[in-house]
Subunit: 158 residues, 2 copies
Amino acid sequence: MASLPVVSQPAHRCAALIDHLARRMRMRAETVLTPLGLRPRHLVALTMLRDHAESTQQSLSTLLQIDRTNLVGLLNELESWGLIERRRSAEDRRRHTVHLTQPGAERLAQAEFALAAVEDEILVSLDGDQRETLYQLLQIAGNRQRPDCAGAMAEIDC
Amino acid sequence: MASLPVVSQPAHRCAALIDHLARRMRMRAETVLTPLGLRPRHLVALTMLRDHAESTQQSLSTLLQIDRTNLVGLLNELESWGLIERRRSAEDRRRHTVHLTQPGAERLAQAEFALAAVEDEILVSLDGDQRETLYQLLQIAGNRQRPDCAGAMAEIDC
DNA sequence: ATAACTCGTTTGTACACAACAAACCATTTG
DNA sequence: CAAATGGTTTGTTGTGTACAAACGAGTTAT
C-alpha cells in the first residue's frame, strides 16, 4: 500500500527557503546599507560589475534580470554618485560599457565589510566552512543561468 | 609571495548572491504558482507551517519575519482557501494556533512538484548532490535564526 | 472587580521594487 | 534612405512590506 516512491520523490524544494533567507538578509542589509547611501539593488549591481567588468547595459540587464528601462535609472544613480562610469563602446558607438570606478570599488568594499556583520547575524547557525560552501554554491548557481549559448553573449567561454 | 590571508580575509559576502538568486527564482516561481492560486509568500508560509506545526501567530510572525498585521491578511487568504485552520488555544484563548489542513498539505505538495521544474531551470549548474547540500545549508540557516532562547518560544528544543 | 497587559484584528498610510508601454535620439546596418 | 538596435526618458501599474492607530476578546496583577 501507500507506495514509497523512492526515486521519483520530489526531493526537497529550496525555493521557499531561499526566498525566506533572502528576505531576512535583505531587511537587515538595508539598515546597514542606508548609512552608506546604498540600497540592495545597488549592491547587487556593483557586485555584478566587479565580477563581470565592462559589460554592456544590455548584457547587464539580462545578467541582473531587470528591465532595461529600470536599469537605466539604477545606473544613473550609481553614476551620479561616481561609483560607475559609462563609456561608449569603440566598436559600436551605440553601446555603453559600464565600468566600476575606483570609488565604486571602495564603496563596494565598505558595503561588504558592513555586510559581514549582517551575515554573521543571519547565518549564525552555519560555521565557516558551511558558509564558504554556501557561497560557492550560490556563485555557481548564479553565474551561468543556463547553457544557452546561442544568444548574444557568446564570447564568455561556452 | 602575495601572502594568502587565510584567516582574516573578509571572505565572500553572499548577500548579493542570495538576493539575486532569490529574485530569479521568485520570478519564475510566480508563473508556475499562479495557476495554483498561490503566491510566493503563501508558499513560504505553508512550508513553515508544515515544518513548525501548530505555531501561534505570534511565533509565526517572528519565524516568517513579517509584521503581525500583515500576517493576519496572509492567513486570512490561506484560511479562506481552506488551506489552513485557526484554532483558539486551549491554554490561552487569546491565541490562535495555526494548522495546515489536508487540502493545504496537498496544495503545498502540488506547488513543490511544480517548483521542481523551476529549480531545475535556475539551478542547472548544480548537480544533485550540490542541490541537496544547498538545501541542507538553507535549512540550517533558516531554521534557527539565532541562539536567542530567552524569548517566548522556549519550548522548541533549545 | 478594576486596571493593565497581550493576542489577534482591521484600516489606512507610506515607501521600495520592478514590470510595462510609448516615444525619443544616436548609431549601425541593409 | 529605410530599418533595426542600444540606450534614454517619462509615466503607469502592481505588489510586498513596514508602520501606526484603534478595537475586541481574553488574561493577569493588584
